[in-house]
């Protein structure tokens, strides 16, 4: 059988003692750097990239893949422990993961994230091995109209991210969309809302915004009234491991998250950003206890983390089958390949099967190492929370400043952090939640670009959104989501009176 012999070749390559070692080093380094606040997967890989240049091509790519998984997991760890996401995907993990940590369930949250990631990683690796070429064909069907409809669907679902006022959540999404449009208009070159600063030509920095509205705002909140609030975090750490009930509650979300993440990860035009947000929305809708969401729901960590990791895996598909990078991380991988003398293209699988299958199997090995390494580490991460807060937060500020600065070497991004720290704190006081703002920020440019692109390609005819089958299906789905959202709202109106007061 073809697949088995291919996988055999892959394991023969990836499981050589030397490559296993590099994979392990990659996972460790990735986790250690990725866990620093404000440093997400992209920044970690950019920092560690030069280390891999001296290695053999296959070893270097295997180590890079290890760094990638390690950094992803490290990023989730920081999101859970101190509410500091370094990447759009871990922003969702921060919502409920951090609330779990505040309730002394940091260990559980980390374990749920690790198990969810491992499961999703395993499933997605099999998907990549089995279906990479046909999945590529589907991804190529996505044009501007399809992306636009997908973004609309994502946006409509976004409101579920909030657990407070519906109106305010909507306003935060819209504000996020507007902030996402800051920068040079790619169609005309006009600067938009840049206040004359050339540093804003490429838009606001995501890391700066996320670190500000999530991390800095949270630190400020903790500093209110002599840090009384913080004792919640320091004291009872509870069981490190998920209880049997927790495990039971994470199975279904993990499965759904894996499917969603695998599907969206294939899309090279930014579909993957929707995966973890989408999973969160689905879990909240399906949950029997939606009121738990935003206050530490296990499903709110398990689903998005699985989606995120599955998407991370399947986003390799366009790179492996077409040689086209789907996201900044994959672009870095291409850079690494080229430096190694491998020019990625549609022929990699046939011309260099050991490399192709070696990378695919090392994905799984990397995930395995990640969980072996990180489950014992959870105890140490959680102990970090016992460090007195007034010693911890200056360290967080220092590392996140370095992290933000290291991404582009741009001083202006640090000013962005301070500005959004203040704004984020203001919104916190005004009881407006930051997650919808962040989703809007990520979707804003995608939504507008694809809308305008679809209109140009369709010669100004808006019917393209309905005549193209995938686009039309997505819009139908959007309408259904709206209907589902409105129904329970009406039904629950009466009960709400009693729930209020939290």
């Amino acid at each position: 059988m073809d697949l088995l012999s291919n996988l055999g070749l892959g394991f023969a390559t990836a499981a050589s003692p030397e490559n296993l070692l590099f994979c392990l080093i990659g996972v460790i380094l990735g986790t250690l750097i990725g866990v620093l606040p404000g440093i997400g997967a992209t920044a970690t890989i950019a920092m560690l990239l030069p280390i891999t240049f001296e290695l053999e091509p296959v070893s270097s790519l295997i180590m890079l893949a290890g760094i990638y998984y390690g950094a992803q997991y490290g990023g989730s760890t920081t999101a859970i422990l101190i509410n500091m996401p370094g990447e759009s995907s871990s922003a969702v993990t921060a919502i409920d993961g951090y609330q779990m940590a505040r309730r002394g369930k940091a260990g559980t949250a980390l374990a749920v994230a690790a198990l969810g990631s491992f499961f999703a990683g395993t499933v997605a690796t099999v998907l990549v091995a089995l279906f990479a070429p046909p999945l590529t064909a589907i991804a190529l069907e996505f044009g501007a109209a399809e992306y636009f409809s997908l973004m609309v669907l994502g946006l409509v679902s976004a409101v579920a991210l909030a657990h407070g006022s519906f109106l305010k959540a909507l306003a935060m999404v819209v504000l996020g969309l507007l902030l996402g449009l800051v920068g040079t208009d790619i169609y005309t070159g006009d600067p938009r809302f840049t206040l004359g600063r050339p540093e804003l030509a490429d838009g606001l920095s995501f890391v700066g915004l996320a670190v500000g509205v999530f991390g800095i705002a949270e630190i400020l909140r903790n500093l209110e009234g002599g840090e009384a609030d913080r004792t919640v975090l320091g004291q009872s750490l509870g069981g490190l491991w998920p209880s049997r009930e927790d495990l039971k509650r994470m199975v279904a979300p993990m499965l759904r998250g894996t499917i969603l993440g695998s599907a969206l990860g294939i899309l090279p035009g930014g579909g993957a950003v929707l995966a973890s947000f989408g999973s969160y929305t689905i879990e909240k809708r399906l949950s029997k206890t939606p009121e738990e969401f935003g206050r530490g729901a296990v499903a709110g960590v398990a689903g998005p983390e699985s989606a995120n990791n599955a998407g991370a895996q399947t986003s390799f598909i366009p790179l492996l089958t077409l040689g086209i990078p789907a996201n900044p991380v994959m672009a870095l991988m291409v850079g690494a390949m080229i430096i190694q003398g491998i020019v990625p293209g549609p022929n990699v699988a046939t011309e260099q099967p050991d490399l192709f299958w070696g990378i695919i199997t090392s994905m799984w090995i990397g995930n395995l190492m990640l969980i072996v390494l990180n489950l014992p580490l959870i105890g140490i991460w959680v102990k970090l929370l016992k460090v007195p807060y007034h010693l911890l937060f200056p360290i967080i500020i220092a590392f996140s400043s370095i992290g933000v600065y290291s991404v582009k070497g741009n001083v202006f991004d640090l000013f962005t952090v301070a500005f959004f720290g203040l704004l984020g704190y203001a919104f916190l006081k005004l009881r407006c939640e930051p997650a919808p703002l962040l989703l809007g920020f990520v979707l804003g440019p995608l939504l507008e670009e694809n809308l305008r692109r679809a209109m140009i390609l369709g010669r100004g005819d808006p019917s393209v959104f309905l005549t193209r089958p995938i686009s039309a299906s997505l819009l139908v789905l959007t309408v259904m989501v709206i209907a589902v959202m409105l129904l329970p709202r009406v039904r629950r109106k009466r009960e709400e009176v009693f729930v209020e007061g939290d």
Partner: protein
């Protein structure tokens, strides 16, 4: 901002110090090479390749610093403001020559504020189309584009990108206003071309060669005076009937203006040595390009190239009326 804070006295001290340090033998500490684009991109790749070999020759490490943003102008600005001591250099591409026209309020002058070191490489470009685009050869392609100018769509990777510059030249050459669709970077543009969502594009061989060989896209012409070794069947633009469309994405190394001549000469020698290395040649070959010959890896050659290209692109950009600011 730090220019204001830095007092004239301190600068004078620094210059004196730098000059005295040079007397003892440049370079005596690590050099920073600013690449004004994100890590992992094509320019970054060229930068890292060359920096590694130059480090060997100089006996000091060259660190690559990625200062991305605003089409490379932020990184270039940073080098223009840096101390002219030979320890901060810039690797930039053709964007150095288009920036003065594309950015109407650019705060630096590519000619006056920089001391050229030498040309590194010139990457050819290819005119490509989706795999099922009808025309069979270059001649019928040009005719088809002229006849269907209002329905043919052309992708580019954003304003100021190589694909955008080449696209403007192409439209001038065929004398037809084609519908242009910008994307955010080469990746998405190439994906939609492979997916058949868009018709044509003109992009660097770095991005197109493997796709052409794999048959996922179709190629009609290459923008060099002679055919390429890696794509021997592809006619040149002159053969195809598009004269004056010779264009390449050339890369050069610059130091801030006022850098001591000893440092410039030393860097230029190191660059020539690096470019003569067969490993560098083979790695650049993988990218579909070749190292610049030794006589081009000199300050005078880069100076001439830069001035010539600034003048060449000004009317092209002004006629298209698209600016990046």
């Amino acid at each position: 901002m730090h220019l204001i804070q830095r007092t004239a006295g301190l600068t004078a001290v620094a210059v004196l110090w730098a000059t005295s340090a040079l007397a003892q033998g440049y370079p005596e500490r690590q050099i920073t090479m600013v690449v004004p684009f994100a890590a992992g991109g094509p320019t970054d790749t060229v930068g890292r390749l060359i920096a590694e070999r130059m480090s060997e020759d100089l006996g000091q490490q060259i660190l690559v610093e990625n200062v991305g943003g605003a089409g490379g102008t932020l990184g270039a600005q940073q080098v223009a403001d840096a101390e002219a001591d030979g320890y901060t250099i810039l690797l930039h591409h053709i964007g150095m020559a288009t920036a003065p026209t594309l950015y109407r309020n650019l705060a630096f002058d590519p000619v006056a504020d920089f001391a050229p070191v030498g040309l590194v490489t010139e990457v050819p470009m290819t005119i490509v189309a989706r795999a099922d685009f009808e025309p069979a050869d270059a001649a019928s392609f040009i005719q088809y584009v002229k006849d269907n100018a209002d329905t043919v769509t052309m992708a580019n990777a954003g304003i100021g990108a190589a694909s955008h510059l080449c696209g403007m030249l192409f439209m001038q050459a065929v004398d037809a206003p084609i519908v242009t669709v910008p994307y955010r970077g080469t990746g998405p543009a190439m994906t939609e071309l492979v997916g058949g969502q868009i018709d044509i594009m003109c992009d660097q061989t770095t991005n197109t060669t493997e796709q052409i060989k794999g048959g996922t896209i179709k190629a009609y012409a290459v923008t060099t005076p002679e055919r390429l070794d890696i794509l021997p069947d592809l006619p040149t633009v002159a053969e195809a009937g598009l004269p004056g469309m010779e264009v390449s994405v050339w890369h050069g190394i610059y130091a801030p203006a006022g850098t001591p001549q000893e440092a410039i000469d030393r860097l230029s020698t190191a660059l020539q040595t690096a470019l003569a290395d067969p490993d560098v040649a083979s790695q650049l070959g993988e990218l579909g390009t070749a190292p610049s010959p030794a006589e081009d890896a000199t300050p005078t050659a880069l100076q001439a190239k830069l001035s010539g290209e600034i003048e060449r692109w000004r009317p092209v950009i002004e006629e298209a009326g698209v600016y990046a600011d």
